[in-house]
Amino acid sequence: MGETIKKEVNIKDILDLFLTFFKIGLVAFGGGYSMIPLIEKEMVDKRKWIEEEEVLDIFALSESIPGSLSINNSILIGKRVGSILGAIAAMIGTILPSFIIIIIVAMAANTVGNNPVMQAAFVGIRTAVAGLILITGINMARKTIKNKLEIGLFVITIIGVIFMKLNASILILIGGVLGILYNR
């Protein structure tokens, strides 16, 4: 999460940020976490803008501050690559696809949700997104979850969110406090 990339901010990167986040925004079915496999593919693998280890930190920071995950992520990564301009380009790129789609749907008077073809497609899409997040999550867990505290927090989070419908903020707070206490 540390140093900014020390290079000149150039227009090509700003445009690239906008287009990449636009592309990701188009298929981000399921919100912020569905972006993980795409961020890894486009930004870690292809463009080497961020390292794989930093993805978790970016999400951790995004979860800790107000705002939706996808917006916070885009601003953080955009700022890293291209300073304030990059942050704005990435943010607009993320907002635009869903904005356009919602306006179209609203104008077409809500027929999307009830259309049986669309609903069938969404079942397939949700399944795929779940699978992609699953693989990415398991890979990350393999690398980061090692000792008892990490395992404990990891398991508590999963149980808390899935079975007890806990708010993520509480868990983040617990994680932060325990992290400080553990490393005293």
Partner: protein
Amino acid sequence: MVEIKLFYIFFKLGLLSFGGGYTLIPLIQQELEKQGWMSSSQFHDLIAISEVTPGSVSLNTATYIGYEIGGVLGSILATLGVVLPSLIIITLITSLVMKQKKEGLLDKAFYGIRSVVTGLILSAAFLVGETSLFNESITVNGTNGARNVVNIINGKSLAILILVLFLMKKTKIHPILLILCSGLLGVLMFYIFK
């Protein structure tokens, strides 16, 4: 002007949106009631659409409500309102974060937060796939015996899941392509060959 009001209300909401998009929904509903802008059932229909369209549900809801109340200008201002707090806060804190010493308090807190976020990621996988993969909600009827598992899990969705997992692990096919093809598979399996 109603558009300015939209901006202001969603800016306020944006400041309060901690911990996942769904936490904002009841707050939005309260505001709508206060303003008398929308009925409960209208709001619930709107949420349903915001959930299936790409992007975060809180953002989509802001855009949608903005449009219903104030047209295109309303949707622009509502959307800008809800994202501006994030932009401002991140701009302010990133310089702060970079000045933190290594092994400082923030570093230690993040050590724990990372494990929580890893858990959140895997939970997200479950929550996103839950409605597609299971015929009943297993978090409600969680005590079905082993022989009922076959009935609970949707076989067609499971097939898509296995295919996606396999292709993701063994090939370099782009995730976007996998998502779009699964949409087509969905239409094939759940509409054409019902």
